[in-house]
Amino acid sequence: MSKLLDDILVLDFSQFLSGPSASLRLADMGARVIKIERPGTGDICRMLYVSDVKPEGGESTIFHAINRNKESFAADIKEEASLKAIKKLIAGADVVMHNFRPGVMKRIGLDYENVKSMNPSIVYGEISGYGQEGAWSHLPGQDLLLQAVSGITYLSGNSNQPPVPMGVATADIVAGTHLTQGILAALFQRMQTGEGALIQVSMLESLLDFQFEVLTCYLNDGKELPVRSEVNSAHAYIAAPYGIYRTSDGYIAMAMGSVIKLGELMEMDALNKYTDINDWFMKRDEIKRILQERFLQKSTADWLSVLEPADIWCADVYDYKDLLESQSYRILEMEQWVKSQGLKVRTTRCPVRVGGKRFISEKGAPGLGEDNEKITKEFGL
């Protein structure tokens, strides 16, 4: 089976997560991705240890996760000879991408206009924090800070909680996903026109797009701010029972469904009076409180055995240990071993299956400058 992207060469100048997560996806599709890194330190993510986990070999766990299946070319762009080598690489590349703050690539002569003059059909992708202009454009594109200004922290948690950020680097991942879409669309168009393109995304625009359903509601409802429910909140705009509830031995997640039917199945007369469907939203706090009290009286398994056969949308709430032990996780074969600088590292695979096949590659994250020699020879640098 041929890959979706054969013969596509990507030069990735980006660091941390937003850009590198985009190039990881391109690598998963079959592109050849070369990280262009500063000698000595390289992508700063290499040393960004998390959870106090320092694998032997030096690189952080997250660096391994984000940069598998890539090559590394270390070059000091401030040095004439290195810059010349990079320009030669650019001449043969299909995609150049970076996530520097606006102006940085221009100062080193590698902004779109310059790169285009070296390679007119280049697809040039860039991710910024806040866009290329305006009062915030010079600020660092850091995930938590972007979540903070985008309003998204008022959507999770209960109403009495402070703003609650999403605990995964959502802005980075979403912006990276959008950049990949744009780069691919430009590569597709190039096959017809021969022309490259500049593709720009910002983490702020990406987070606004992620909120498109609820923001559109806000823009048309007289601009009422979202109100999270007082208890068991899972979505500021959705009626009871939507939320996670404590049971006698754990938790249960309840998606949208009929409050009346739940009352019958769970043998609770207290819910009988909520016959007006609008009350499920307007009075969701009191309904949720009644439900919460009842859920505490039985175990999660007991409730699931009552509710699931009746087609109520509900589920257990798992941590990673529970998840990894479940058969449904195991059949996905989401894990793979990759080899990185003599080490074996366990990580996840590309989430999309093509032609019924999982994409697995044992090529791990590269050491800093690991491929310099090979690339120098291959491209005659």
Partner: protein, 378 residues
């Protein structure tokens, strides 16, 4: 500007969010997206509203997700309709469906059948939990997937119950990944003439979303712990998180404690070494939190700006809208409905050659494209 996916035809056999948000992105990039809907009622998402907001017979929510598309109504039990559909499939490039496993087979529209009609088709199926396994018939609903994927233990503080993301993360990410792979498959189809089968599930997308957490877990076998206060990301050290000040909230990203202390000026913080910022993050965060209450947001922001510290105010949408940083993005666009009505929504987040992509074309009424599409098919 010629949009990159011009002349590409997408048939969307999808409902609610995951499939339709993939279709929306392809539409904004120039594709012609045709929703294949049941006559009269159409897709189920038409009747799903938030805050009881309606545009016409369909909700504002539906209009938000399905603008810039057409609708072709077919009754799959009628042979005549099926013939039209097969004709349409012959002319299409992409099919996206998010029915539960087995539904498309029963209608004779599974990949093998469709491939026989159109060998270069890109056939995309989105499920909740993949096509196999004990959960394959469970509803692929976003909150349930968040709960089963471990995601709810990343957000909120240590003593909070599991806290879901207040948006449909699984649906949105899976739909966006579908759009990515569809365009990559178009590149391959253009080159080789061959189509592709693309399979995605919300579960695989949410696992991928947590790849940093899981890769760390595979090495340490220690479950990620949310911090006791101001959890911003369970993997990260103090000070990372959101803190209350005298008049609002601030988000403080990663930085050495010593740098933060240049603005906090706390003797107590000097007692901690930088390499204790993870293991002792709860006590460190408590010290920082107490100090930040002493002054309003602007006081701290002014000090942080001088040192270029990674700190931003926490804004709600009203405050965000009032900021120049938001306004300059031109993120809003107006969708024009018939009879002079319109509504505001957001635009595609991708810029091409410095241009924003906007379209004022509304979501279709059920079957409103039937006549045009039949004429086009001849």
């Amino acid at each position: 500007m010629q949009l990159p996916l011009k002349d590409i035809i997408v048939l969307e056999f999808s409902q609610y969010l995951a499939g339709p948000c993939a279709g929306l992105r392809l539409a904004d990039l120039g594709a012609r997206v045709i929703k294949i809907e049941r006559p009269e009622t159409g897709e189920a998402g038409r009747k799903l509203s938030i805050k009881n907001m309606w545009v016409d017979d369909s909700s504002l929510l539906f209009h938000t997700i399905n603008r810039n598309k057409e609708s072709f109504a077919v009754d799959l039990n009628r042979e005549e309709d099926l013939q039209w559909l097969r004709k349409l499939i012959r002319n299409a490039h992409i099919i996206i469906h998010n029915f539960r496993p087995g539904v498309m087979e029963r209608k004779g529209l599974n990949y093998e059948e469709v491939k026989r009609i159109n060998p270069s088709i890109i056939y995309t199926e989105i499920s909740g939990y993949s096509e196999n396994g004990p959960w394959k018939n469970k509803p692929g609903q976003d909150l349930l997937l968040q709960s089963l994927s471990g995601l709810t233990y990343t957000t909120g503080n240590k003593n909070d119950p599991p806290t879901p993301f207040g948006l449909a993360m699984g649906d949105y990410l899976c739909g966006n990944q579908a759009a990515q792979f569809i365009i990559a498959a178009l590149i391959k189809a253009k080159k080789t003439g061959k189509g592709s089968l693309l399979q995605l599930s919300l579960m695989e997308s949410l696992i991928d979303f947590q790849f940093e957490f899981l890769t760390t877990y595979f090495q340490s076998r220690k479950l990620p712990m949310r911090s006791e206060i101001s959890n911003g990301n369970p993997l990260l050290s103090a000070p990372y998180g959101i803190y209350k000040t005298a008049d609002g909230y601030l988000a403080i990203a990663m930085m050495p404690l010593s740098e933060l202390n240049e603005i906090l000026q706390l003797g107590a913080l000097q007692d901690y070494r930088e390499d204790e910022a993870f293991v002792k993050r709860d006590e460190i965060k408590a010290i920082i939190a107490r100090r930040l209450l002493d002054h309003p947001n602007q006081y701290w922001l002014d000090k942080a700006a001088v040192l270029d510290l990674w700190i931003m105010p926490v804004l709600n949408w009203k405050e965000m809208e009032a900021s120049q940083g938001y306004q300059i993005l031109e993120m809003e666009q107006r969708v024009i409905l018939n009879k002079g009505k319109s509504f505001l929504t957001t635009r595609c987040p991708i810029r091409i050659n410095k241009k924003v992509l906007k379209s004022d074309k509304p979501a279709p009424e059920v079957g409103s494209g039937n006549e045009t599409i039949k004429l086009f098919l001849g």
